[in-house]
Symmetry: C2
Subunit: 203 residues, 2 copies
Amino acid sequence: MDQFIGKGGKREEIMELSVPLFAVFGYDGVSMRDVAAVCGLTPAALYYHFSHKEDLYLEVVAHAFREKSAALLIKLKDSDSPWVQLENFITNLAHLAAKDEDFLRLMQWVRLDSEEMRQQKLVTHVFKDLFLAVHALVAKLNSRYDPYMLSMSIIHLVLIPFEGKKIRKFMPGYRPEHDQPDVLARHVIDLLRMGLFEYRTSD
Amino acid sequence: MDQFIGKGGKREEIMELSVPLFAVFGYDGVSMRDVAAVCGLTPAALYYHFSHKEDLYLEVVAHAFREKSAALLIKLKDSDSPWVQLENFITNLAHLAAKDEDFLRLMQWVRLDSEEMRQQKLVTHVFKDLFLAVHALVAKLNSRYDPYMLSMSIIHLVLIPFEGKKIRKFMPGYRPEHDQPDVLARHVIDLLRMGLFEYRTSD
DNA sequence: AGAAACTAAACGAACGTTTAGTAAAATATT
DNA sequence: AATATTTTACTAAACGTTCGTTTAGTTTCT
């Protein structure tokens, strides 16, 4: 009865077990022996399921990203106003970033990938849908800004603080609450709504 | 007459030649044989100047960062108003990021470093001064936001788009002008000043 | 019996690093 | 001023380890 997930099931198991490895140590920092060890297998067994190390890595990253970005996209309902949609998206993204450190670190490794072909493949398959959704959203919100640059700014404002979590701890002025997704989401939303000057739109 | 720079001069030469290597391929992606090759030396010769690979790497990164962040800090004059200072800082930072790709990529590698001791050493020696300067600046500018979070947001808004330059090219809506430092600086300054809504403080 | 999912062992290549030796320059001694 | 000595800045070769990967054989399940 498992004829459809029998082979793929094992592949997925290997992929899920190696996500934390690649997330922490990167492609060059993880050996096939490392992957085999966390899977309870021999290195040679991996070559039954994947043809090369790069094959395994590509599928691991794509798998991790498909999962997460799909979860974000289904929450982008058209029912609310664009501004409420954006607020919700920022909050959701902040919670995802706070919860799933592996996802964030994999993104960083992809951004640093020195093999352009591999990088392009990963990026277009993985980020494009999410970026397009934000792009369409901000285009409805404000016509003064370039929607491309504004989308980038918003995504970065939310994600990067969590990427640099370990680093931020050493910086002067750090307080533990800066790691809470709701606190960061609030900060980003306020900054986007009002900018730096004290005009205050409400309250 | 070269008794003071005789040894250090050669060390610096090696360091400067290996910056592009470590920037592109990272610590694990560069071998001592690679470094030796670009320096026109034998691998063993490197161990005359540096005791370990990690020693070399640490000094390379610290050296590259000291140079760049010092150049940014001396431009932060107290003569102007805080807002003008911030505008200038954003523009300077954007130009630095656009010009020096190695600097940006080294920063990314540091953020991904899995060895906490090494990471902390690099971060505190390198980023702290710059961050402190921005922190003091935004604290004078606006009391509504947490100065720590606001400093982070500003630095990220400027630097990260250039970090992701290769990736952004594959995203829908990209135009070459998005890579121009003045265009990005203008975008960030406007976003910070006015936020998303159409209040317009001045034309 | 036959396909599926492995293991044990080994391949050559590349890795960080060490050892032993050398040519040249600086320093000290006569 | 000429010679001996030390220090500097390396090279050639190799050390043991780890790497990605392969081969040949074995267990497990249908």
